[in-house]
Structures are given as structure tokens and as C-alpha cells.
Subunit: 189 residues, 2 copies
């Protein structure tokens, strides 16, 4: 009725619970209760609890990596690329705040999918690092240790999910602008 499969509904509900208690502390009975059904009924739509985590985390991890791959290979200037990275984080976080929490906090409970997740994360950081390096070599960014820039920027962006849901949906642009200032003006020449 809402265009979602039952499996998708389960994953969305699960992500919300995972955010509040963490994957390990959420039981199939909790999840079922939240869906208004019994735990056994869940297994008509998913094969295991772990499969749900896989669905929740890998979908958004792929979006991030695909996005930054495009940003890096674009013809934009460095500053524009960095702004695009920030905007992607704000937008994906505003759309999927619960999934972002699992991505950050529950990835270690992935089974089958952990390797793929780690590959996606490594590729993401690789592109980000290369954008920063390019910025330094072009003289657009200050000569601060790449890893420090990468860490402090990425940590802020990855944790937006803690903070964005508190704000209204409307002020995405305001958040993007503020982050552009706070994050970029500390590192730009």
C-alpha cells in the first residue's frame, strides 16, 4: 500500500531500533512487536537477524562510495568537490538517519557482508584522501597532516546522524553552509 515490500518495512523498522539500542540488544521479539506481529512471522520475509543488518548497512555504504567515486572523478575544483562530499553526507543522513547509526556502530556484527562493507569503507576513504592530497598539492588546502584532516572531517560527517534528526527537515542548506564554513575554513588556505 505504501510501495514498500514487507521486507523493506522490516528493515526500516529494524534500523530505527538498532539506532536506539544497538544491533546486539535488539531482539527479534522487539522487532516483531514494533511491526505488530509475532517474531516467527518475520522469518517469512527474512532468513536471519543478520540478513537484516546486511540490508541496512550495505545499501547505504554503497551509496556513499558510489557518490564519492563520482565526485572525485568529476572536473570540479577541489573546493567544490569537498562541498559536494559534505552535501552528500548531509543529504544521505537526512534521508537515512537510522541506517547511518548502524553503519557507524553495528558494522562489526556483520557476518557474510563484513568484508564487502570494509572494502566499501576503504574505497571511500581512499577517494576522500586523494581529494585532500590533490588539494594540498594544488595549494588550495593548508599543509596539515592529511590523516588529521581526513579524520576530523570524516568523524564530523559520519556522526551527523546524532544531530540532524533534532533539526527540521527544512534547513539542510543551512547545515551544509555551516559545515562548509566550520570544516573547510580550518583547512583551506
Amino acid at each position: 500500500m505504501n510501495g514498500l515490500t514487507r521486507k523493506q518495512e522490516i528493515c526500516i523498522t529494524a534500523a530505527r531500533l538498532f539506532k536506539s539500542k544497538g544491533y546486539a540488544a535488539v531482539t527479534m521479539r522487539d522487532l516483531a512487536a514494533e511491526m505488530g506481529i509475532k517474531a516467527a512471522s518475520l522469518y517469512n520475509h527474512i532468513s536471519s537477524k543478520e540478513e537484516i543488518l546486511n540490508e541496512v548497512i550495505l545499501a547505504i555504504a554503497k551509496s556513499f562510495t558510489k557518490g564519492i567515486r563520482n565526485i572525485r572523478s568529476s572536473e570540479d575544483k577541489i573546493t567544490e568537490k569537498l562541498q559536494a562530499v559534505i552535501a552528500q553526507h548531509v543529504n544521505l543522513t537526512a534521508d537515512y538517519p537510522f541506517e547511518m547509526a548502524s553503519l557507524n556502530n553495528d558494522w562489526m556484527h556483520l557476518g557474510e557482508g563484513k568484508k564487502e562493507y570494509l572494502n566499501l569503507r576503504d574505497e571511500y576513504e581512499l577517494h576522500f584522501r586523494e581529494i585532500i592530497k590533490q588539494g594540498k598539492s594544488e595549494g588550495v588546502l593548508k599543509n596539515i597532516d592529511e590523516e588529521v584532516i581526513l579524520f576530523s572531517t570524516l568523524v564530523t560527517l559520519r556522526n551527523l546522524y546524532i544531530w540532524i534528526p533534532k533539526k527540521g527537515v527544512v534547513d539542510r542548506d543551512k547545515i551544509i553552509n555551516s559545515l562548509n564554513q566550520t570544516l573547510l575554513q580550518g583547512i583551506e588556505i
Copy 2:
């Protein structure tokens, strides 16, 4: 033999496990195995799993709040206060990286102690926010939304535990300097 009580040893070992899997996924058997004893033996030193979490989280939460209370009430200039806040985070994180992970990720599993933890956290953020406000009113900090400054700074500092253990013990000062640059130059006039 090492100056630690058995209870302290248990809490230290527990914190290390909590960091890698999260509180909920660590069993008393895991913890006991890591200590080289049986699970039942743990209960001669602690009364419950939850008590361990309380010990781990509240000790470090108190240190942070006490520290920033002193920094705020000192006669230092704003820039020095902000640098002192950064230095406190780097030092406490370097000393207690595992406890920092629990502080960030496992506080929702506190029982008895949750209220106290939330009070400490609120007080911490209050002092931090007031330092930022004072900086803005004195014209030392840019006129960026306080909450954005607070969020992006605090999130970086709170997640140092992910990053600091990778570095050697030696370069605390280098990290403090880099963070001073990255975090402060984006917000200072």
C-alpha cells in the same frame, strides 16, 4: 602485584571487550575467558554485568566534567580555554581509549547510573557552550551558530578514541597541535 584491585582489572578488561563488540554483545563468559577464569568467579568481585558498565563509564565521565568545569572558571583567555578542552580530550583519550568507546556507544545500557551520566553530559555541554558563547560575544570566534560549532568540535573530540590508538603514545602534542589548527582556525576570527 600491579597495584590494581581484581575489580579494577575486570573493569579494564571489560572496557577493552566493550570497545570491540559493544556492551550487549560481550558475555560474562567472554570476559571471564579473557581474564583466564570462569564466569562464576567474576561475581566475587562485581555484583552484575551492569555494575561493570557503571564503573567504566562514570569514572571517565566525571573526569571530563570536572575538567571542563575548571577550565571554564579559570582566568584564561577563550583561545586558551578551547585549547585546554582539546588537550583534555586528547590526554584522557590516550589514557583511556577503551573507556571512551563505552562512554560514546554503550551509555544507553546503563541502568542505575544512566541519570547521573546524563547529568554529567549535560553539564559538560553546558560549560562548552558557554565558553563558545563567550568567545563569540568577545569577538574572538566567528558568528557561526553555536550549536554547529559545539557539534562539530565535540563530535571530533569524542571520537578521537577511534583514531588515537593507531598512533604511537609519543605524539600527543602533535595531535593536540593539529587539532588546534583544524578545529579552531575554522571558527576563530
